[in-house]
């Protein structure tokens, strides 16, 4: 078995100058070439931070305080901005959540896509523009020759996200990080964008790191899933295994809380809720961070943060309950 394309080992991120505010507490992930890994979790779980850390684009005031990120057999110099520039856009492309805000309003579409090509390859402007037209065709935008002269505000949200995808794929990267790429879009547009990503993956053989809160997307898109809660990976499995036999109480709660067809029972509450809320970063409980919301929590859960073993980080995981 060859080495994974991207491997993150024990990644830690905290607020600068505040060692107590640990936003990521040792996250480990790996993606093989051509594979889709979904990272799923609710807001504040650290899934977006993980992707930004890989790109070396952590927001001001946050710092990586530990961990190794390897990409294509070499260490990724995530703290060296100049070195990372050669990776960003060229080896790793990224698509963000808000297509409406993702494009610079004062530059034409063609210029913005061509900018990536110019940044990483020595090509003439005409050659770059020709490639932009090809790319826009590839992401199935109508009339690409006209659209390269348009400004972002003339495009719909779905069209803009296609442009962003074209920018991310312009230099044929090995990995595409898609951070909630369709959360801001309508369901029908979401389906188009996801189908597009799926087709492009088939054509180009790129790996996709899909960051999302939507279990539906996970089920339909991903090969493997990592579930995150409060800055940790709490469970990881193949998609089929995760949905068939979720181990962590949080994963099970999340699946139960997600609406799905044909589940309603007369006279019963429509959804199964997880009680409580994610605690603020300053008010994290001792031991397992899910403990206050967990139905299964016992004494040990308050004492010790459970280690990640056999695909799950829980003292009371289903698999362990079965083997006393």
């Amino acid at each position: 078995m060859s080495a994974p394309l991207l491997s993150i080992a024990d990644l830690k991120v905290r607020i600068r100058g505040n060692p107590q505010a640990r936003l990521l507490r040792g996250v480990s992930l790996s993606i093989d070439r051509g594979e889709t890994l979904a990272v799923v979790g609710e807001s504040g779980c650290g899934k977006s931070l993980t992707s930004l850390a890989v790109m070396g684009l952590l927001p001001d005031g946050l710092e990586k305080s530990g961990g190794v990120i390897r990409f294509d057999g070499a260490d990724l110099p995530v703290t060296d901005n100049e070195a990372m520039r050669k990776v960003r856009g060229r080896r790793i492309g990224m698509v963000f959540q808000e297509p409406m805000a993702a494009l610079n309003p004062v530059f034409s579409i063609g210029d913005q896509v061509a900018e990536v090509i110019h940044e990483h390859e020595a090509v003439s402007h005409a050659a770059a523009m020709a490639r932009v037209v090809d790319l826009l065709t590839q992401v199935q935008l109508p009339e690409p020759a006209r659209i390269i002269h348009e400004y972002p505000h003339r495009l719909s949200g779905g069209q803009r996200q296609r442009v962003v995808i074209a920018m991310a794929l312009a230099c044929r990267p090995d990995l595409l990080i898609a951070d909630e790429p369709t959360t801001a879009l309508d369901v029908t547009v979401q389906a188009q964008i996801m189908r597009l990503l799926h087709d492009l993956q088939d054509d180009m053989g790129i790996a996709i790191l899909l960051i999302t809160h939507n279990l539906g997307l996970v089920a339909q898109m991903a090969d493997r899933v990592a579930v995150m809660y409060a800055g940790r990976k709490v469970e990881e499995a193949t998609t089929r295994m995760l949905f068939a036999a979720p181990q962590h109480p949080y994963t099970r709660g999340l699946l139960a809380a997600t609406p799905r067809p044909g589940r309603r029972r007369p006279g019963e509450p429509p959804l199964t809720e997880i009680p409580g809320v994610v605690p603020a970063i300053t008010e994290m409980p001792s031991g397992c961070r899910f403990r206050p919301r967990c139905m299964l929590a016992s004494d040990i859960c308050a004492l010790e943060d459970p280690p990640f073993v056999d695909g799950v980080a829980c003292h009371r995981a289903v698999s362990r309950e079965l083997v006393p």
Binding site: S43, K47, E180
Partner: protein, 278 residues
């Protein structure tokens, strides 16, 4: 690094408060410290600062005490500054609130009027008002309010336009609340911090404009102001520049103090509560 800039920021606010307090103290105690008329001659003309123990800050070309002028001038500056800022803020808030909340033709009419006052060169308009009505403290306050309110109106209008589309305002309408109550009891408290910060800047601007009017010789002739002192000192620029420098520094420090306090208020009242994102 963060803590240093934090201290620095609060240090400047403290400096602003201190300076402003000093100016207010000068204004309040002017008649106690200098019981006589500041226009009276108290020493030899053109005594340099430090030259005589009686007049520490020196005397002007007519032998008037610079220090007394400084104290009495603070009164006029503060009175004109605060009074005109208050009038401008009230008018501006009313116009801006109604224009922004109601929109439509109300907004059109009110903003066209605001625009009239904004396109007219402000200082020229203030001069013209003083020229027509005659220079007195009241007229100067009115003229400075007349040129200052449009900026407040525009700011408040913008804030109200954003606020009226907030869901909580819709909720108030649905609960059956009256427009006036929504404008003044619901939206205004949210806009107030911005207005307060703007008002401190308005005070500073008004003080500077008043000094400009009296520098040109169109201030109230019955009171001594810092602008007047600078204007009368112009002839002695070559040989007695302190006559200009001293009231000028006083003006600069007062305006600076107000700006620093404004910045401090801005930090204190508008902590940018950025919403957490995924």
């Amino acid at each position: 690094m963060r803590s240093i800039s934090f201290i620095l920021r609060h240090w400047t606010t403290a400096l602003g408060i201190l300076l402003l307090a000093a100016v207010i103290l000068m204004a309040l105690t002017a008649h106690l410290v200098f019981p006589g008329d500041p226009y009276d001659m108290v020493g030899a003309p053109l005594t340099w600062p430090g030259e005589s123990a009686d007049t520490l800050l020196g005397t002007d070309s007519l032998g008037r005490d610079m220090a007394a002028g400084l104290f009495y001038g603070a009164r006029v500056s503060l009175l004109v500054g605060f009074a005109s800022a208050l009038v401008a803020a009230i008018v501006g808030v009313l116009v801006g609130a109604f224009a922004g909340y109601y929109g439509g033709w109300t907004d059109d009419v009110l903003m066209r009027i605001t625009e009239l006052f904004q396109t007219t060169p402000q200082f020229m308009l203030a001069l013209a008002v003083v020229a027509v009505l005659g220079p007195s403290v009241t007229v100067i306050i009115l003229s400075l309010s007349a040129v200052s309110w449009p900026a407040v109106a525009r700011l408040v209008r913008g804030e109200f336009m954003v606020m009226r589309e907030r869901a909580f305002v819709h909720g108030c309408v649905v609960a059956g609340m009256s427009d006036l109550r929504i404008i003044f009891a619901q939206i205004l408290p949210n806009v107030l911090p911005v207005i307060i910060v703007m008002s401190t800047i308005l005070v500073a601007t008004a003080i500077l404009m008043e000094s400009a009017l009296s520098f040109l010789g169109f201030g109230d002739p019955n009171v001594l102001t810092w602008g007047t002192m600078i204007g009368m000192g112009r002839g002695q620029l070559r040989d007695a520049w302190y006559i200009i420098a001293i009231p000028g520094v006083a003006l600069l420090l007062t305006a600076l103090a107000l700006n620093l306090v404004g910045e401090g208020l801005n930090d204190a009242l508008n902590p940018r509560l950025k919403q957490r994102k995924g």
